[in-house]
């Protein structure tokens, strides 16, 4: 797959966005904030206070926090679906909101929580949709598109599912096909919104192992929103911890996972210990 990827600089000439000269930083979120209100004249119903973090190629960033803390909002801001109230988000030095819809889709792939299909389609048709941003109007898929889609299916160990109908496969299999479609976009940045939701523990670990391998092999920067503290602790390089729209801590899991901090955020008694690999493990303690 990496041989087919557009090198980041190849996009540069086509861009009109602001460029910055950060050599090794892939994603840079700089003082980004957001406010949501149902009516412009009313006080905002939800505010995401200004936060910053950076990520390199091959890194996995986990966004953690209790419900309604702003995790998905932050992911939408990074994906370009929402405009920040203040601050900027740079991808390889280019402001993401200055990219056209097509260019953005060539660089940022988003795996969202499940959305139902209107009419049945086969897994390979679904994966080929990831090539849409590379085609011109009315263009039919080329042999290259097919090769990239096949490669994407192989990367998530789902080649055998290629001819299956999307509504006739299990949740875990579907998640892999959705991930394959995102890989077919050949992005620089892979965003996942609660990808482990509805998956059993085996499928959750399988997905995260896959993500770790893909990030290393293809040098993707991965940002994942999750509720799974232990999976994030095991697989993430960086954790962004949010609470009620405020960013409390950004850093390596071993640094962010402090007993007092996590207990305060999740309002539950917890114990945190470090495993032999230096990764934190969280255990929920009984209230009694």
């Amino acid at each position: 797959m990496s041989t087919q990827r557009h090198p980041p600089l190849a996009h540069a000439a086509a861009d009109s966005g602001q460029q910055r000269s950060n050599s090794d930083i892939r994603l840079s979120v700089e003082q980004v904030s957001y406010a949501y209100s149902a009516n412009p004249s009313q006080a905002p119903l939800f505010t995401l206070e200004a936060l910053s973090f950076q990520a390199r190629p091959g890194e996995i960033v986990a966004i953690l926090g209790p419900n309604a803390c702003g995790k998905s909002t932050l992911l939408k801001l990074i994906s370009g679906a929402l405009e920040p109230l203040s601050g900027r988000i740079f991808l390889n030095g280019f402001a993401t909101n200055s990219l056209s819809t097509k260019t953005r889709a060539q660089r940022i792939a988003l795996v969202q929580q499940e959305s139902p299909l209107l009419f049945p389609s086969r897994a390979w048709q679904f994966v080929l949709q990831g090539r849409h941003a590379y085609g011109r109007t009315l263009r039919f898929e080329t042999d290259d598109d097919v090769a990239i889609a096949n490669n994407a299916l192989a990367q998530v160990n789902a080649s055998h599912l290629s001819d299956r109908w999307m509504d006739k496969i299990s949740g875990g299999e579907k998640q892999r096909i959705v991930l394959a479609r995102a890989l077919a976009q050949q992005p620089l940045l892979l965003l996942l919104d609660e990808p482990t939701l509805h998956l059993d523990i085996g499928a959750q670990v399988d997905l995260l192992v896959n993500l770790r391998r893909l990030a290393a092999e293809n040098r993707y920067t991965v940002v994942v929103v999750t509720h799974e503290l232990n999976l994030a602790g095991e697989f993430a390089d960086q954790v962004v911890l949010l609470q009620k729209g405020r960013c409390l801590r950004v850093g390596r899991p071993a640094i962010v996972y402090q007993k007092d901090l996590l207990e305060q955020v999740f309002q539950a008694p917890l114990s945190v210990e470090l495993t032999a690999s230096g990764r934190p493990r969280v255990t929920l303690l009984s209230n009694n």
């Binding site: 994906s79 679906a81 819809t101 097509k102 953005r104 889709a105 060539q106 940022i108 792939a109 988003l110 969202q112 959305s115 299909l117 209107l118 009419f119 049945p120 389609s121 390979w124 048709q125 080929l128 949709q129 990831g130 849409h132 941003a133 085609g135 109007t137 009315l138 263009r139 039919f140 898929e141 598109d145 097919v146 889609a149 096949n150 290629s162 001819d163 976009q185």
Partner: protein, 346 residues
């Protein structure tokens, strides 16, 4: 993995076009005056390929001047409604969407009747007058789809059930408006009401309107076809399509306007023929799959075939009396609508 190719689209369309030709020949043969099928096909092909200008045999006038214009009218109306239905189903993400069910045809009918009233009160030249009805129909269709779209939205998203209910209520309200307008129109009669409410192809139309219909169809179909691969992605939702690189706003505007043009043109010449836009896309989807690059031309040809068959039945089952073609399409369409609705709820 066998992605769709242009060759496969052309081949499948050629097969459908051959079926359409066969259906047209059979439709031309059916009627009170008997003509030979072989002679008819031979004569039609020689006209089609420009060997002769007109059919010279004794049945030439009946075939060319009476039956053929009605069939051609049905052909374009059927194609327009089926393409509009396919587009609305993708745009509104609702497999039950159809210009008739959503009340868009009724909106176009109200627009047409209002245009007729304006036209009769002001004295236009015949060329301008001919254009006012289709324009009124287009505006009626566009305003209705906008209204139904907003009625069907809940919390910023289109809600399938609310959309359908909104459409059905709009249709029933507009049917009442049609009856009111027709009863207040001088010379308004039951046949006129049937024309607008059920859809009918028996009224001869001026040639200029037929040309307008043909040109309008080609332009609107072409515009929708440029968004065919975008529509495939829109089926998964607007946000998802945007993340895959679809300019959702542009697609929405193009499809919304072009589908309103198609519905408006069809209704201005044939009234509100129901269920073609619902049935045909589903049948074509079963045969060819849901890729709009194939589905849109297939729906156009399938809609043309469907309406020619339905109209031939309408003018032959109760011969010598003509049934409105909309009665035949509703007889088939309504049970299929219920089947689809139940399958969706299951």
């Amino acid at each position: 993995m066998r992605p769709l190719t242009l060759q496969r689209v052309v081949l499948r369309c050629a097969i459908l076009a051959a079926i359409l030709f066969f259906v047209v020949v059979v439709a031309l043969k059916m009627g009170a005056v008997q003509v030979s099928l072989y002679g008819l096909a031979r004569d039609l092909l020689s006209v089609l390929f420009g060997h002769t200008q007109a059919i010279s045999s004794d049945y030439g006038m009946i075939v060319m001047d009476i039956r053929l214009p009605r069939i051609l009218l049905g052909l374009v109306v059927g194609a327009s409604l089926a393409v509009a239905g396919t587009s609305f189903q993708a745009l509104l993400r609702n497999p039950l969407a159809d210009p008739y069910v959503l009340g868009i045809s009724s909106g176009a009918a109200v627009g047409s009747i209002l245009a007729l009233i304006i036209e009769s009160s002001l004295s236009f030249s015949p060329e301008v007058a001919g254009l006012i009805t289709p324009l009124g129909a287009f505006l009626g269709a566009a305003i209705t789809i906008a209204a139904v779209y907003f009625l069907g939205r809940r919390e910023g998203q289109i809600d399938s059930g609310t959309l359908l209910l909104g459409g059905i209520i709009t249709a029933s309200f507009l049917s009442a408006v049609i009856m009111f307008l027709l009863s207040s129109l001088a010379g308004g009669n039951l046949r006129g009401a049937t024309y607008w409410l059920m859809g009918d192809l028996s009224t001869p139309q001026p040639k200029s309107l037929l040309y307008l219909l043909g040109v309008g169809f080609v332009i609107a179909f072409g515009a929708i076809y440029t968004t065919a691969s975008d529509l495939n992605l829109l089926l998964a939702g607007e946000k998802e399509a945007m993340h895959l690189g679809v300019d959702v706003r542009r697609v929405r505007v193009v499809v919304y306007l072009a589908a309103s043009v198609l519905t408006g043109l069809a209704v201005s010449v044939s009234g509100a023929i129901g269920y073609v836009g619902l049935l045909v896309p589903h049948v074509m989807r079963l045969i060819f799959g849901s890729d709009h690059r194939m589905l849109l031309p297939a729906a156009a040809l399938g809609g043309a075939i469907g309406i020619v068959v339905a109209d031939t039945l309408a003018r032959t089952i109760t011969s010598p009396t003509d049934l409105p073609v909309g009665a035949v399409t509703a007889l088939v369409g309504a049970p299929v609508f219920i089947y689809l609705l139940r399958r969706r709820l299951a």
